[in-house]
Amino acid sequence: MAVSTTKSAYGQGIAQGLPFVLVIVPFGLLFGVVGTEAGLNLAEVMGFSVLVIAGAAQFTAVQLMTDNAPIVLILAASLTVNLRMAMYSASLVPHLGRATLWQRALVAYMNVDQLFAASSARYEQTPDEPLRDKLAFFFGVATPILPLWYGSTFGGATLGATVPPAFALDFALPITFLAMVGPLLRTLPHVAAAIVSASLALAFAWMPAGVGLLIAAAAACVTGAAVETWMEARG
């Protein structure tokens, strides 16, 4: 009995993971192309997608590497992009915190945005599901997502070198980031943070590569939190 429900939890995970293919594959292809255009070889591009598996941070790192920013600033900016993952980690603890160390390490390695979104939604709906089913669901969602992320990066990297300049691929990265920002602009604090980030980055563009961005990002985070606090106080 337990085996069959675990199996079906895994199957349901796969079914939940499949629609994300529509996001993962173009994003992976794009990273492969952009990384190659920036001067990375195939192994380096794949190194990013296998060891980091965090598309937005990978794009951030590649852009700052193109700007010849110092390594410390490249890491600081890219990891700032990933700070949200500490929140994901915290919110999985009530559900997966009792798994073995290896299982938790595997979950941590795989916990990309889409996997977290699908799993945390499921865990909120059925919080009393046994741990093994929760894990089976998680690994089910990962089953279509991760291989396609690696594969599409590989495809993009092999394609990248053959794309002619007329396709203006330099602009693939800004368009992708703007497309990711749009849905985040849900509230006034988010909009305020975005405006501060863009304006300060432009104002500090004269600074060494990466420095202006970090100042702008820090100021934008504080702005978002401050506007949120102000709105709470106002009621």
């Binding site: 529509l22 173009p26 920036a38 001067g39 990375l40 380096e44 060891l51 937005a56 941070a57 951030t60 790192a61 193109t66 010849n68 490249i74 890491l75 990891l79 700032t80 992009v81 990933n82 949200r84 993952m85 500490a86 929140m87 980690s89 915290a90 999985l92 603890v93 915190g97 938790r104 390490a105 979950v107 941590a108 916990n111 330099d170 602009f171 990265l173 800004p174 368009i175 703007l178 497309a179 990711m180 920002v181 749009g182 985040l184 943070a193 980030s197 863009a198 300060l200 980055a201 432009l202 563009a205 202006g212 961005l213 702008a216 990002a217 934008a220 985070c221 702005t223 978002g224 939190a225």
Partner: protein
Amino acid sequence: MTAGPTEIWLIIVLLGIGTFALRFSFLGLLGDRPLPGWAQKLLRYTPVAVFPGLVAPLVVWPAATGGTFDPPRVLAAAATIGVAVVTRNLLAAILAGAGTLYFGLWLL
């Protein structure tokens, strides 16, 4: 890019370790301890604080035109953000941006 293979791999490996550490943090080591409210508040804005700052200079001073203001690229950026805000659909926004860019480059 002036970074050599050693520097590139250093960045890849350290970014991999750092990203894993963030994902493993609470699940692996810290356990069921809630983040303080102010930290949650600041973390909520990290994506929206980084991406616009990263993109703004690329839109206003694109490297492909040697850093001169380029109307097709600015229009494409505006179309992308507009469609993204209205539809909340990543792919639709990317296609709108790419379409506007190619149309603008062909037209202007």
